[in-house]
């Protein structure tokens, strides 16, 4: 962690520039993605029918606006429905490719969202001023028509089934009724209030009642479906009604909310860029820069002395200038030396321990060196015959 922080501090200037660059680019990209667009919108009020049982399968715990928004968004993903909107809006589509383009454009730029329990907002954005208004109005009309068509289709299917059942049940009921009447005609005493129960008569009577009950039930269902089918169209147009119709498309104007949002998104992007660069620079740069780097090196060396001194020599601009001049002989020697900005700053001598470097509390007080008490002169006779002179000196010292 410390290495990453130190690495970031080392390149903080470049990180700052990079962060500002990413922030600016991100903010500009977010703005330019909206700039030049034209948009309009319409709000639709959706209600759940209280007295008409038009949608038995709907979830009573979900807002009607959410239900209708989901249905509309599903429909918008279909090519047929979207193409119908484009055709209704008068978009020119001479070729199949143009149709595909129009479909994709509508699917991309038409946004349907539930903004409340009953409110649906339909927004259309495009790079042209035309068609947006028509697309929205056509979307609402086609959606209502699609709902109607779907309900009618379901009602037709159900009616066909129930009509078939009705015919069957009617025949069975007529048969049992005829048998019942014939039995009464053949045995007039069974219907005169005789207390003796005729089992055949009772069976015929039960059969007739059962057949009649089934027939009445299917007749009730057919009546209900016809009622629902006829009321569904009314319900769709009445309970999915446009409150604010779409106006002419207007160019995008940045708002304070957009400003804040763009700034936040750009800031997050810049932060991620800075973090990524810091991590990468730490991983890539294997140079020794700080005491923690030195400590890491010493800790990985198992053969190293645990009592080794670690010192730092601060950057001195004068010396750096000399080094630069030495490295590059073409440079002028008249640069001179600048002030010692870092002289004495960050100076430290440390002792490396097994768990890290610890500053040596205080530099030891100057003490006289014990090596040259007598200060004998170096003999001038022999260039390398120093052992003899050293021996002479040691005798003198003792």
């Amino acid at each position: 962690m410390k290495l990453y922080i130190e690495s970031a501090l080392r390149i903080k200037g470049r990180l700052l520039i990079c962060g500002l660059l990413v922030f600016g680019l991100g903010w500009a990209a977010l703005y330019l993605s909206k700039a030049g667009d034209y948009s309009t919108w319409a709000t639709v009020w959706v209600e759940k029918p209280l007295y008409l049982d038009t949608d038995l399968a709907s979830n009573p715990y979900v807002n009607p606006s959410t239900i209708q928004t989901n249905i509309l968004n599903e429909l918008l993903t279909t090519r047929k429905f979207t193409l119908s909107i484009a055709q209704g809006a008068g978009m020119e589509m001479p070729t199949t490719a143009a149709e595909d383009e129009a479909v994709i454009s509508i699917q991309r730029h038409l946004l349907v969202e539930a903004t409340g329990p009953h409110l649906v907002r339909i927004t259309c954005t495009g790079d042209k001023t035309n068609h947006c208004k028509d697309i929205i109005s056509n979307t609402v009309q086609l959606f209502i028509a699609e709902l109607d068509a779907g309900q009618a289709r379901q009602a037709d299917v159900a009616l066909q089934l129930y009509e078939q059942q009705r015919t069957t049940y009617e025949q069975e009921m007529n048969t049992s009724r005829d048998a019942y009447n014939q039995y009464i005609a053949d045995h007039p005493t069974v219907a005169t209030g005789n207390n003796v129960i005729d089992p055949d008569f009772a069976e015929l009577q039960q059969q007739y009642l059962a057949d009649k009950g089934r027939y009445d039930d299917v007749i009730t269902k057919i009546d209900s479906i016809r009622t629902q089918s006829s009321t569904a169209t009314e319900a769709n147009s009445s309970f999915f009604r446009v409150i604010d119709p779409a106006s002419d498309a207007k160019p995008y104007v940045i708002s304070n909310k957009d400003l804040v949002r763009n700034a936040l998104v750009a800031s997050v992007l810049a932060l991620f860029a800075i973090l990524a660069i810091s991590l990468v620079s730490t991983w890539v740069d294997t140079s020794v820069h700080t005491l923690n780097d030195l400590n890491a090196v010493l800790l990985t060396g198992t053969e190293l002395s645990s009592d080794m001194l670690v010192g730092v020599v601060p950057y001195i601009k004068d010396l750096a200038d000399i080094r630069q001049r030495t490295d590059n002989k073409n440079k002028s020697k008249e640069k001179g030396s600048a002030t010692n900005q870092h002289a004495g700053k960050g100076l430290g001598i440390y002792r490396h321990k097994q768990k890290g470097v610890t500053p040596v509390a205080d530099s030891p007080a100057p003490k006289p060196l014990e090596t040259n008490i007598a200060r004998p002169t170096v003999p001038d006779s022999s260039p390398l015959d120093l052992a003899a002179s050293a021996g002479t000196r040691q005798q003198g010292v003792s």
């Binding site: 410390k2 002395s305 004068d318 010396l319 001598i349 490396h352 530099s363 090596t371 120093l386």
Partner: protein, 225 residues
């Protein structure tokens, strides 16, 4: 001994930089305190490659030593990097006579040493020899630097860098104690590690991080250090 005036301007000579002296003084004091009493202060300075600041720090430690010992102190700085001597350039001295001439017995050692600064004696590298390994081996056999330590308060040897394949581990045997210099932002971690582990155990007394730049703000230093 002869006294030759340094020819370089004061602004370019590390010996005339108070900032360098201030920086090296506590380092020298700590190194000195690590030594046992009565032993000669002979210290070798090496690094992984050239340009890490060996010569500058050798001069800095020398001037710090003189400043700490006092006006009567004498410190000898020897340029043992005879294949590429730079000490004379830093001090503005002639390259010859130097250590190579002394080894070839052309001149006595006393004639090759120059007092570049009051109390700081410099032995340049001299002419670049054809066989530097032979010369250094001879130095090892003679234990010259340790012998000189008995005549000076301190002997600081500017050793060749480790990245000199033809020399091998020879420089490590020239002096009893070594200081390894690493240049911040230049020396790689694996280079430093290989440098330190290359020497015999206990030979390396200290590692100096040269050109260190403190970039952390004051309130963060406690956390980082």
């Amino acid at each position: 001994m002869q006294l030759i005036k340094a020819r370089s301007s004061k602004t370019e000579n590390p010996l005339h930089m108070p900032a360098l002296q201030a920086v090296c003084r506590p380092i020298f004091a700590q190194l000195q305190s690590e030594m046992s009493l009565g032993s000669a202060f002979a210290l070798g300075i090496t690094s992984f490659s050239r340009g890490d600041g060996r010569t500058t720090l050798a001069l800095g430690l020398a001037i710090a030593a003189v400043g700490q010992i006092g006006t009567q102190g004498r410190v000898l700085v020897i340029d043992a990097d005879i294949s590429n001597p730079m000490l004379h350039v830093r001090c503005g001295l002639p390259q010859t006579p130097g250590l190579s001439e002394v080894m070839l017995q052309h001149i006595p050692i006393t004639q090759a040493m120059v007092e570049a600064h009051p109390g700081v004696w410099v032995l340049p590298g001299g002419t670049r020899p054809l066989n530097a390994t032979h010369h250094l081996k001879k130095l090892e056999e003679l234990a010259l630097f340790e012998q000189l330590g008995k005549h000076f308060d301190a002997v600081i040897v500017d050793l060749p860098p480790v990245l000199t394949p033809e020399l091998g581990m020879l420089p490590a045997h020239l002096v009893p104690r070594l200081v390894v210099v690493a240049r911040a932002g230049v020396t790689k971690r694996d280079q430093l590690q290989s440098t330190v582990t290359a020497f015999p155990d206990g030979t390396v007394s200290a590692i100096l991080l040269n050109e260190y730049r403190e970039r952390a703000p004051g309130w963060m230093k406690r956390f980082l250090h």
